[in-house]
Symmetry: C2
Subunit: 213 residues, 2 copies
């Protein structure tokens, strides 16, 4: 049975995106700073077809984000296109013709839409019947591989509150965004319990792996 | 010139005390869980006159909390006794006749009070003219040693916002309190900038040292 996992970067004050997120600025004000540890890495650059880059203690985490993942679940805001019905000339997502997923992606939405098959093995499937259904579909698609939750914060929160997440890797960066999308919020009662499994010190970031208790 | 430092334990969702703090329950609901990494340690127990205890990767951090500190600053809520004027039979603090500080402590308050000298070298001084004044007095008292901010959250926030903190050690524990006193809040604009200096993986806790950028 494939496991459900989150790998996400969080500011020291608890945000995974800055304030005032818009379609043009999906990570909000200052949110791009979150991924300064990731973007210069060779492991990241090569998934975007670029040569060169750094290799450091973050490399295994960067490889893990996109490697060994058989399916991804994300919220509609992370896919993009704004709220409401999709319309005729519907948004195709933030990632161009050849998205870096290369596996089935399940987008949580209130508005039905036919699957969107793009190049390189990425198909966006639109799920309108809830998080459990999306997880079941993703698990079937992933086979022996991991199901990853891409985000955003409210999707992670829903899966955490439902007790469905097996593992969460927080990449904690020393920035203070002062507002935005808070990761650990709306978790219900009793709060999920986590166990610290592994810590990796890397330049400008601390990666901490937690497992469901 | 002595440096200003904070060593504080934070839940994964950003709280340094749980919800509903009261005089009898100063760390709020669930807040005692924060210090489960600290309390069993020999380094902690011996400051409270107890024998035995664990030695592990957290030991140097525990030793640092109370060692090499020449003066401590704390808020009135951390000293205790409730708000308002002190009255005749004034509260003597949460720590008994021989508090574990063994150095001058400066308590931020709106209400003047004579210094309270207890056993073992701890004198509580009550400062009514603001955080800069408390820092100056503490620095003078500390000599070559460090000035430590004991807490609570709002005191740390005021010193962070004023750009006065040289170093902050966060002991991040995998618990979710769901509410309470949030550490990184009300930090003003622009937010303070921090640099990650050191990471220590220990049982049930990750210690991360940050310096002012």
């Amino acid at each position: 049975m494939s496991r459900l996992k989150v790998t996400i970067t969080m500011s020291l004050d608890g945000f995974v995106a800055g304030p005032n997120q818009t379609e043009k600025d999906p990570l909000g004000v200052g949110g791009e700073q979150l991924h300064q540890w990731l973007v210069p890495l060779q492991a990241f650059r090569e998934t975007h077809g670029e040569l060169g880059g750094e290799v450091n203690a973050s490399t295994p985490i960067a490889e893990e984000i996109l490697g060994n993942v058989g399916a991804t679940i994300m919220g509609r805001n992370m896919f993009g296109g704004g709220p409401g019905p999709w319309g005729d000339d519907a948004w195709q997502g933030y990632w161009g013709d050849d998205p870096p997923y290369h596996h089935p992606v399940f987008v949580l939405t209130h508005h039905a839409r036919e699957p969107l098959e793009l190049e390189g093995g990425t198909t966006f499937n639109f799920v309108t019947d809830g998080i459990e259904s999306a997880f079941e579909q993703a698990r079937t698609a992933a086979g022996d591989e991991v199901v990853s939750i891409g985000g955003g914060a409210n999707v992670v929160q829903q899966y955490l509150a439902a007790g469905l997440i097996d593992e969460i890797v927080i990449s904690l960066v020393p920035i203070l965004l002062g507002g935005g999308a808070r990761l650990f919020d709306n978790l219900g009662e009793p709060a999920p319990t986590l166990r610290q499994v592994e810590v990796i010190e890397a330049p400008g970031v601390t990666h901490i792996r937690y497992a469901r208790q």
